[in-house]
C-alpha cells in the first residue's frame, strides 16, 4: 500500500479489502427450506369420501371433523385455507412435491412415513373398535368375535389386527369399501365391522352400535413437509389451543357424539417435530 500514489487507488484498494472481507466472512444463508408460515394461504389435503371426517358434498364443499380441525389450525396460523382431495396413497408424495402444504386426512403417524414427511399433532388418537348391530349382545370386545363374520375391506389392514395380530379365529367376508361393509352389516351378511372408531362413528345409525372396546392406538397427525420445524411447532401450538379453548370437545361432539362413542377430550401426546 505504501507504493500507492493516487488516492483513487488507495480508495479502490480499501474497497477491495472490504469486499474481500465480505466475501470471506459472508454469513451463510439459512439453508432451511420454506415454511408454511411464510405463506398467506394454505392448500390442505383432506379425504373426499370419509363420512364425519372428510366428505366432499354436492356443491364441492368439504365437511367433516378433519376439515374443521384443518380450518381451525389455518385460522390460528393466520392463513386462509383451500381444501383439496388427497387420496391415501398420494399423501407423502403430495407433501414432498409441495402440491399440498398440510394433510389432515385420517393420516396415522408411523415411523416409515416419518422418514419422508413430518407430523404435527396427533390431533386425535383414534382406536380400532368394533361396530355391531344395535340388537347384538354377544360381542363385548374383540375376543368375542371368535367364529363370527368380520367384514374385510380390500386394501385395509384393520382386519389383520384382529385375525393376525390378535390371532382371533374370525370368518372374513370381503367387501370393496366400508360403506359396503355397513350395508352388509345391516343386511346381516356380516356380524361386525372393525376399524378406527372415528371412521365407524361416521357411519353410525340408530340400528348400529360401537362396542366401545378399543384395542389399538391410531394417532392422526397433521402431515407437513419434512424440515419445516417452525411450521410443525406452530401446528402443535394450534392443536394445544384447540383443546385448551374447548373447540376440540365441541368438534368431536358435533361430529361423533350421536354414535355413542367414548371420546377423549384431552390433548394427545405429540409426536415432536425435531
Amino acid at each position: 500500500m505504501v507504493t500507492l500514489t493516487g488516492t483513487g487507488r488507495l480508495r479502490r484498494a480499501s474497497a477491495l479489502v472490504l469486499l474481500g472481507a465480505v466475501a470471506l466472512f459472508s454469513v451463510p444463508a439459512c439453508a432451511a427450506g420454506s415454511s408454511i408460515l411464510d405463506k398467506d394461504s394454505l392448500v390442505i389435503g383432506v379425504k373426499p369420501d370419509q363420512p364425519g371426517l372428510g366428505m366432499k358434498d354436492a356443491d364441492g364443499e368439504f365437511t367433516g371433523f378433519d376439515v374443521d380441525v384443518a380450518a381451525y389450525i389455518a385460522r390460528k396460523l393466520g392463513k386462509s385455507a383451500r381444501f383439496v382431495a388427497t387420496p391415501s396413497s398420494e399423501r407423502e408424495k403430495a407433501l414432498m412435491e409441495g402440491s399440498v402444504d398440510l394433510v389432515v386426512a385420517t393420516y396415522s403417524i408411523t415411523p416409515e412415513r416419518k422418514t419422508k414427511v413430518a407430523f404435527g399433532g396427533p390431533y386425535y388418537v383414534a382406536h380400532q373398535d368394533t361396530l355391531v348391530r344395535a340388537g347384538e349382545s354377544g360381542i363385548a370386545g374383540v375376543r368375542a368375535l371368535k367364529g363370527r363374520k368380520l367384514c374385510q375391506v380390500t386394501g385395509s389392514n384393520s382386519w389383520r389386527r384382529v385375525k393376525e395380530e390378535r390371532k382371533i379365529a374370525v370368518e372374513l367376508v370381503e367387501a370393496a369399501s366400508y360403506s359396503e361393509c355397513i350395508s352388509d352389516l345391516n343386511a346381516g351378511k356380516v356380524d361386525a365391522v372393525s376399524t378406527d372408531d372415528l371412521i365407524l362413528a361416521g357411519f353410525a345409525t340408530p340400528d348400529l352400535k360401537i362396542v366401545n372396546a378399543p384395542f389399538s392406538d391410531e394417532r392422526y397427525g397433521v402431515g407437513i413437509q419434512a424440515g419445516d420445524l417452525d411450521g410443525c411447532e406452530a401446528v402443535n401450538k394450534a392443536i394445544t389451543e384447540m383443546y385448551l379453548d374447548g373447540t376440540a370437545k365441541n368438534l368431536l361432539q358435533k361430529w361423533f357424539a350421536k354414535s355413542g362413542l367414548a371420546l377423549t377430550f384431552t390433548v394427545p401426546q405429540f409426536e415432536g417435530c425435531g
Binding site: 500507492l4 472481507a21 389399538s216 384431552t266 390433548v267
Partner: protein, 484 residues
C-alpha cells in the same frame, strides 16, 4: 465506506465532521478555521477517525461476544438444563403410575416389594413437583404453556386422590400376587386413565415446547454470533484501512519512513480482528456441538427413558387388568416401536425383528425410533459401544417380556408377576442412564470449552482497544508538535 477512507486522504472530498469529541487536542492552542484545510487539522481528523474505527471494532466485537456468551448461558446453564428437568417430569409421572400398578399387583405376599414401590412412588411425586416448577418457569411469557402447566398441576392433585382410594380399597381386600379386587381395580383404572390419557401427554408436550424454546434461543444466538463475526471482520478491515491511509499520509507529508507507533497500533488491530473472528468461530462451533451432540441427544434419550419406563408400567397393567390386557399389549407394542422401530405387525414379529436388528448392530443400524436417531449421530467416544450395550439389554428386556406373556397366557399368574418384576428392566434402564451420562458429559464439555474460549475477553478486548487508541495518539503527537 468510500467516504470514510477518503477522510484520511488529502483529497478535499465531502467529509462528515470528524467528531470533535473523538479528536483529541493535546495542544492548548485555539483551533483554526476551517480545520481540514491545514495539515494539523487533517492529522487530527485522521487520528480521530482511526480511534473511532478502533472503537467501532471493539464495540462490534463486544456485541458478538455478548451473543456468544448468552447462547452458551441459555443452552448450558438455564433453559437447557430446565428442559432436561421437564423431560424428567414425564419420567417421574409415568413411574408414579408404574409403582402404583406394582403395589396393586404385588398383593399381600409381596410385602417388601410393595413397601419399596410405595417409597419410590413418594420419591417420584417429589421429583414431579419440582419438575413442574421448572416447567412453569420455562413457560413464562407463553400463555398456552402456562395453561398446560396449570392443567398438569390440577390433574396431579386429582390423580393422587384416586390413587389413595385405590390403595385403600386394595388394603381392605388382601390378595395373592395378581389382579386386585374389582373396586380397587376400578379406582386404579380411573387413575391410570387420567395419568396416561391426560397428564402424561401434557407433560410430554411441555418437554417438546421447552425444547422449542431452546431451539429458538440457539438459532437466534448462533446466527447473531455468525453475523457478528462478519461485522467484526468488516470493522477490523475498516480500522486497518484507516490506519494504513493515515500511515501513507504521514509518510508522504513528512517524508519519513514508517511511523512505528502507528504500525504497532495496526498490528494490535490486525491481531485483535483475527483473534476475534477465530474466537467467535470457536464459540459458534462449541455452541453447535453443545446443542446438536449434547442437548438434542440428551433430550431424545430422556424421552426414550420416559417411554421405556411406561413400557414397564404397561407390563404390570397388562397383568393387573385382564379385561384391558389387549389394549395394554397393543400400547406396549406401539411404545416399543417408538423406542426402537423395526417393522412388525405384532409382538411376536417384533421380538424376532429386535433380535435381528440388535445382532446386526453396530455393523449396521437398520432401525428407526429414538435409538435409530441416536445410532445415526455417533459423535462421542464410547457412544457406539454403550449404545450396543443398551440395545443388548433392551433385547433381554423384550425376551423377558415375551416369557412373561407366555406365562400369563398359560395361566401361571404369579410366575408371570415375578417375571414382570424381574431385574431385566432395571439393568436396561441403568445402561440407558450410562449412555445419557456420556451425552451429558459431551454437552458439559462443549459448554465449558465455549466458555473457556470467551474467558478473559471482557478484559482483553477493552485493553487492546485502549492500547491501539493510545498508540495512534502517540504516533501522531510528534507530527502535530511540528506545527506548534
Amino acid at each position: 465506506m468510500a467516504v470514510i477512507t477518503s477522510t484520511s486522504g488529502p483529497a478535499p472530498a465531502p467529509i462528515p465532521p470528524p467528531g470533535p469529541v473523538a479528536a483529541p487536542t493535546p495542544a492548548s492552542s485555539p483551533q483554526r478555521t476551517p480545520r481540514l484545510r491545514t495539515v494539523p487539522g487533517r492529522i487530527r481528523a485522521g487520528a480521530g477517525v482511526a480511534v473511532l474505527a478502533v472503537g467501532l471494532l471493539s464495540a462490534l466485537m463486544g456485541v458478538a461476544l455478548g451473543h456468544a456468551g448468552d447462547g452458551l448461558r441459555t443452552i448450558g446453564h438455564t433453559a437447557g438444563p430446565q428442559v432436561v428437568a421437564t423431560a424428567d417430569l414425564y419420567y417421574a409421572l409415568s413411574d408414579m403410575d408404574a409403582q402404583v400398578a406394582t403395589v396393586l399387583l404385588a398383593g399381600e405376599e409381596g410385602g417388601p416389594s410393595r413397601k419399596a414401590a410405595l417409597d419410590r412412588y413418594d420419591q417420584r411425586r417429589a421429583q414431579a413437583d419440582s419438575a413442574v416448577l421448572q416447567a412453569a418457569d420455562l413457560a413464562r411469557g407463553d400463555p398456552t404453556g402456562q395453561a398446560t402447566v396449570r392443567a398438569v398441576l390440577d390433574g396431579l392433585g386429582r390423580y393422587e386422590r384416586l390413587v389413595s382410594r385405590a390403595l385403600l380399597l386394595d388394603e381392605q381386600s388382601p390378595h395373592v400376587p395378581g389382579p386386585p379386587s374389582q373396586p380397587a381395580l376400578d379406582a386404579y383404572r380411573q387413575a391410570t386413565d387420567l395419568m396416561r390419557l391426560d397428564l402424561l401427554p401434557k407433560a410430554y408436550n411441555l418437554t417438546l415446547d421447552s425444547g422449542t424454546v431452546v431451539r429458538h434461543a440457539y438459532a437466534a444466538e448462533s446466527s447473531a454470533v455468525l453475523v457478528g463475526r462478519f461485522w467484526v471482520a468488516l470493522g477490523g478491515a475498516l480500522a486497518l484501512a484507516v490506519l494504513a491511509a493515515l500511515q501513507v499520509f504521514l509518510a508522504r507529508r513528512f517524508r519519513r519512513a514508517i511511523n512505528p507507533a502507528l504500525l504497532a497500533a495496526t498490528i494490535v488491530v490486525g491481531v485483535l480482528t483475527v483473534a476475534g473472528v477465530l474466537v467467535l468461530q470457536r464459540a459458534a462451533d462449541e455452541l453447535r456441538v453443545a446443542k446438536e451432540d449434547g442437548f438434542d441427544s440428551v433430550l431424545v434419550l430422556s424421552r426414550a427413558r420416559a417411554i421405556g419406563n411406561s413400557l414397564h408400567g404397561d407390563e404390570s397393567r397388562y397383568l393387573l387388568d385382564p379385561q384391558r390386557a389387549d389394549t395394554y399389549e397393543q400400547v406396549y407394542l406401539d411404545k416399543s416401536q417408538s423406542v426402537l422401530y423395526v417393522p412388525a405387525g405384532n409382538l411376536d414379529k417384533y421380538y424376532a425383528a429386535v433380535d435381528r436388528a440388535v445382532a446386526a448392530f453396530p455393523g449396521e443400524a437398520d432401525f428407526l425410533g429414538f435409538y435409530g436417531s441416536e445410532a445415526d449421530r455417533v459423535t462421542v467416544p464410547g457412544q457406539r459401544e454403550t449404545l450396543a450395550k443398551v440395545l443388548t439389554h433392551y433385547q433381554q428386556f423384550q425376551h423377558d417380556d415375551r416369557r412373561m406373556r407366555q406365562l400369563a397366557t398359560a395361566g401361571k399368574k404369579s410366575d408371570a408377576v415375578r417375571q414382570a418384576m424381574g431385574a431385566s428392566f432395571g439393568a436396561y434402564d441403568d445402561t440407558l442412564v450410562e449412555l445419557t451420562a456420556l451425552r451429558r458429559q459431551a454437552f458439559g464439555a462443549a459448554v465449558a470449552a465455549g466458555n473457556r474460549a470467551l474467558d478473559g475477553w471482557d478484559l482483553l478486548l477493552p485493553g487492546a482497544a485502549v492500547v491501539a487508541g493510545l498508540l495512534i495518539l502517540v504516533g501522531v503527537r510528534p507530527r502535530l508538535a511540528e506545527y506548534r
